[in-house]
């Protein structure tokens, strides 16, 4: 049953324009962040501890640029997921889907899996392109890349890819929840991005220690493999609890609410 819903959603997501737009946006974000990170690396360490060319030459150097793309990647993932779910209400297509699949939880689970696989694919493609860009930038800036292709470097890259995928999926799940609860892709994207980006940033700056409790800050920490305020394990645990609770609420609302759209 979930497989049918998954397949059905993929019929929609196979369309070329969505593919190019989404994969293009995510790839652009990751590649741009990588290029800016490597281009901005300093020759010598400064007082602020900014990234240096010597640090980029380490095995983890290849991952340095990618880790910075977590929030932007999350924003794009959030928007795509909110669009896919909120749009069904806004366009009135949800009623057609529910006549063919009355089990609403099955419909939602299948759609959710389809969107997540779509985004994981986008993260993988974006990372591959960003790696190519990183090698080009390393060549331009004279950074030795032998450590990047070592076993340690590849291991770091694999872990980072996983972290980015988890982070993107987390943002996407929040997007789906926003789409289901707000029943409009435009409102879901606008309200969601406002809360996840400026509001959370202001709260983090204004109230020390809140970063370890705010979902977007936690997902950003996960994308970076953990941060000083939110270590990876703690961030993953907290955000998983948030998402599970929110998914249950969204599922209950989706199952019980009348479909009047």
């Amino acid at each position: 049953m979930i497989w049918r819903s998954f397949e059905s959603e993929w019929v929609k997501m196979r369309r070329r324009r969505l593919w190019y737009g989404s994969y293009g946006a995510i790839t652009a974000v990751v590649v741009l962040t990588t290029i800016v990170t490597i281009a901005g690396a300093l020759h010598r360490p400064d007082a602020r501890g900014d990234l240096t060319l010597a640090q980029l030459a380490h095995a983890s150097g290849l991952s340095e640029g990618l880790t910075q793309s977590g929030v932007l990647l999350g924003a794009v993932s959030f928007s795509i997921a909110a669009f896919q779910f909120g749009g069904e209400f806004a366009h009135g297509t949800l009623r057609n889907l529910l006549v063919r699949q009355p089990r609403r939880s099955v419909l939602m689970a299948g759609k959710c899996l389809a969107v997540l696989t779509f985004l994981i694919g986008a993260v993988v493609v974006a990372t591959m392109v960003a790696i190519c860009a990183a090698f080009v930038m390393a060549h331009l800036r004279g950074i030795p890349t032998s450590a990047w292709t070592s076993g340690t470097g590849m291991g770091d890259l694999g872990i980072l890819l996983g972290d980015l995928a988890i982070s993107a999926c987390g943002f996407a799940i929040i997007g789906m929840i926003a789409g289901v609860l707000l029943r409009s892709s435009v409102i879901a994207i606008a309200a969601g991005l406002a809360v996840l980006l400026p509001v959370e940033t202001i709260l983090t700056d204004a109230i020390p220690g809140t970063a370890r409790w705010l979902p977007a800050q936690l997902l950003e920490a996960i994308a970076q493999g953990g941060s000083a305020t939110a270590p990876f394990g703690a961030a993953l645990t907290t955000v998983s609890a948030y998402l599970m609770g929110a998914v249950v609420i969204a599922m209950l609302v989706f199952v019980w609410r009348d479909v009047t759209a």
Partner: protein, 354 residues
């Protein structure tokens, strides 16, 4: 067994008997949105294998009723069955139901074929059925074009195609002719007839009463969420007395003829202005010969003589006008207005509630 269960058992047994002959049966179906009562104790009987028209003014509760039948909206009260399964178990009957609800809504960027593929995959329907359906609704050659390029008529046809995908036993169409030109309406009408010929039960809501009169055998009329008539279209129209419409050469002749007709006990009245005057006589065409002889005997020449039967539109306005805002006792009169054994009077929220 609880007292409530004992009390409701005969109702359930009656419903089980009804489901043998009816595709849809509801008892006291009610939907309340906050303080607004959208559907009020609706007792529907939709005969299996027929085309049933579902009419009522805007906001009467037609779409809400349809959404409840399709499991999109939860009834506030009442019960019912669709294809023999309880309303609450829509997953049991929806695979055998096709529906077009409030106009065709599809993904604009996808082709007609892809849009149907989304629904086919979801419903576990064989993809080869898509081509059959597209051919049936006349979109075989345009199936690969994006939905956004379709005309309104094509969109409606794709919506009907989507409803036909599962090879339904029950087809529920909400305003399928909305916005169509006369040619498009005729196409949809022919299509609906062909579905009924295939043995499908068709439940179609429409504002176009002339269309309903042409294609439907059965009719359900609701107003402000309440059932005010259900029964055969022919019975409804037959219950309304026909009139003979007569025109004479002059106004004086018309007045004279009125006196003659009244003298022999026929009800008649004059309508019109000084230029032309028409006599309307409560009689059917079997009395036309007698009338003609009566007029000729007094030297009156009839320039026009025809029988006029009520249209569905007139019947609709008559029953909606007579039933609007009436009490339960008054509603019993509306039952008679239908003139059919199967006609059902409107119900109060208490009446018929299980």
């Amino acid at each position: 067994m609880s007292a409530a269960a004992v009390a409701t058992k005969p109702v359930v047994q009656a419903m089980v008997r009804e489901t043998e002959f009816h595709a849809v049966v509801t008892l006291g179906l009610t939907k309340r949105f906050g303080r607004r009562l959208a559907v009020d104790g609706l007792d529907l009987r939709i005969p299996a294998g027929s085309i049933t028209g579902f009419v009522g003014p805007n906001g009467a509760g037609k779409t809400t009723t349809i959404r409840m039948l399709l499991g999109l909206i939860r009834p506030s009260a009442g019960r019912g069955t669709v294809l023999g399964h309880p309303l609450g178990h829509s997953r049991a009957y929806l695979p055998r139901v096709g529906a077009l609800i409030e106009g065709p809504t599809f993904y604009p960027a996808l082709s007609g074929r892809e849009n149907l593929m989304v629904l086919a995959r979801l419903g576990g329907i064989q993809p080869r059925r898509i081509d059959t359906v597209l051919e049936r609704v006349g979109l075989g050659s345009r199936g690969l074009d994006p939905f956004r390029t379709y005309s309104l008529g094509m969109r409606q046809r794709l919506g009907i195609g989507a409803a036909l995908l599962p090879g339904p036993e029950l087809l529920v169409l909400d305003e399928p002719t909305n916005g169509l030109d006369p040619h498009g309406i005729a196409e949809i009408r022919a299509m609906l007839r062909s579905f009924a010929d295939d043995g499908m039960t068709v439940f179609v809501s429409s504002h176009l009463l002339a269309e309903i009169q042409q294609i439907c055998e059965h009719l359900v009329v609701i107003e402000t969420g309440r059932l005010i008539f259900q029964g055969g279209v022919k019975e409804l129209l037959a219950a309304r007395a026909p009139e003979l419409i007569v025109q004479t050469e002059s106004r004086e002749d018309a007045k004279h003829l009125l006196q003659l007709v009244n003298r022999i006990g026929r009800s008649a009245h004059l309508v019109g202005d000084n230029e032309s005057m028409t006599l309307e006589i409560a009689a059917d065409c079997s009395w036309a010969g007698d009338l003609n002889r009566l007029a000729m005997a007094d030297g009156i020449t009839l320039v026009h003589l025809a029988e006029r039967r009520s249209t569905l539109e007139e019947a609709f306005f008559e029953i909606t006008r007579s039933c609007a805002g009436q009490t339960v006792r008054e509603n019993d009169a509306c039952r008679g207005a239908g003139g059919s054994d199967r006609a059902t009077g409107p119900r109060t929220p208490e009446a018929g509630r299980p």
